[in-house]
């Protein structure tokens, strides 16, 4: 299984939006995402912030962390899909590094398909 993205001979940076209600976990997840040189993580805690950054940046993946209410989740997913029908939205579990890589690689694979 390989996940290599080239565009005009250059490695493409994957923009990943993380939304979560726990600030320390948000910081940890963004640090872990950015530890990969080809991934760029942006973290927000509020729905409106999420919509704002999503309008202004081309994201490939949205990770939904803890503390998001069910109604907010539905509304956000609807918003993201309307803005970008190809967006891959993934529930992020676990908080740390254990599952993050799997979640992102799987999302990229699904996006490619």
């Amino acid at each position: 299984m390989r996940f290599v993205f080239f565009k005009n001979g250059m490695m493409k940076t994957i923009n990943i939006l993380y939304i979560g209600g726990h600030f320390e976990i948000l910081e940890t997840v963004i640090r872990l995402i950015n530890a990969n040189e080809n991934w760029n993580g942006v973290g927000v805690m509020k729905d409106e912030e999420a919509k704002e950054v999503f309008r202004n940046k081309n994201f490939s993946i949205v990770l939904l962390g803890s503390g998001i209410q069910e109604e907010s989740e539905v509304e956000l997913c609807d918003f993201f899909k309307k803005q970008n029908p190809n967006i891959v939205i993934v529930q992020h579990y676990g908080g740390g590094s254990g599952l993050l890589k799997s979640e992102i690689l799987l999302a990229l694979e699904n996006n490619k398909n």
């Binding site: 940890t28 579990y93 254990g98 799997s102 799987l106």
Partner: protein, 250 residues
């Protein structure tokens, strides 16, 4: 496929066999870990989960070393010490030691931080780390730990985990039941699943077993779906097995 009352050659086709040597392996010096499912740098598209069972790590931590403070959210995390003592600290203010015979469960819910260290200065600590997807997101974080009598698992299946706070063992936010049995050679037992639709994942802690017509050795894993009953036979002395009944749908 139709459900059957007991495991047969037909139902055994509904299984996944994870031989011990096919697991992912990571050696960080202070930590040696075997991953049954994809975890951290071990990525295998065919080994993502079995139902709601997402992580089964077989960890060995060097003397005095351990996992520093790190976060979890929306996951049920179960630790089962096999040898040595593990020192636990978390953001809820708990500081405890867990040892063989103890079971630890954490509902990470909206978020917790914790650390786990080998308390011993003279021996490895060996423990299983198991992560289960919860049936409810964003619950209040909680910590649970029990000490069980090891004699109660000799030639029987001792319940160590359930969804019910009043029941034996620890409890979690999921319709899951875990049991451990330590059997004499040739001893057989049956396990009847408690909830329709659930599957069962057997993990061999010590020795050799047969389930259905499948022979299992130490640290092999066998996941079975679409059955209501399994029969287990020990093929060696002091053989020890962990049975995890879990929902198959996330």
């Amino acid at each position: 496929m139709e459900k059957t009352d007991k495991i047969t050659d037909e139902t055994i086709k509904q299984h996944v066999l994870h031989k011990a040597h096919t697991r992912g392996h990571a050696n960080h010096g202070w930590l040696e870990s075997y991953h049954t499912f994809s975890f951290a740098n071990y990525q295998n598209r065919e080994r993502m989960n079995f139902g709601v069972l997402r992580v089964l790590n077989d960890d060995r931590v060097s003397q005095g070393m351990g996992f520093g403070k790190h976060p979890h959210d929306n996951m049920e995390i179960i630790s089962i010490p096999l040898e040595g003592d593990l020192e636990h600290q978390d953001s809820m203010g708990n500081t405890t030691i867990i040892k063989e015979g103890d079971i630890q469960a954490m509902s990470a819910g909206t978020g917790i931080f914790h650390s786990e260290y080998n308390k011993n200065k003279d021996q490895l600590v060996k423990f299983l780390q198991i992560w289960i997807y919860p049936n409810k997101k964003n619950v209040a974080p909680r910590y649970d730990q029990v000490t069980l009598d090891l004699k109660d698992r000799h030639n029987k299946l001792q319940q160590i985990l359930s969804p019910n706070p009043e029941d034996e063992g620890v409890w979690i936010h999921q319709d899951a039941w875990f049991h451990i049995g330590k059997f004499d050679n040739d001893f057989s037992a049956s396990y009847e699943l408690k909830k329709p639709g659930n599957g069962i994942y057997a993990f061999i802690l010590k020795g050799d077993f047969t389930i259905g017509n499948i022979e299992l050795n130490e640290r092999d894993g066998l996941g079975i779906r679409d059955t209501n009953l399994i029969e287990i036979t020990a093929n060696s002395a002091n053989a020890e097995i962990l049975l995890m009944e879990i929902p198959m749908q996330l």
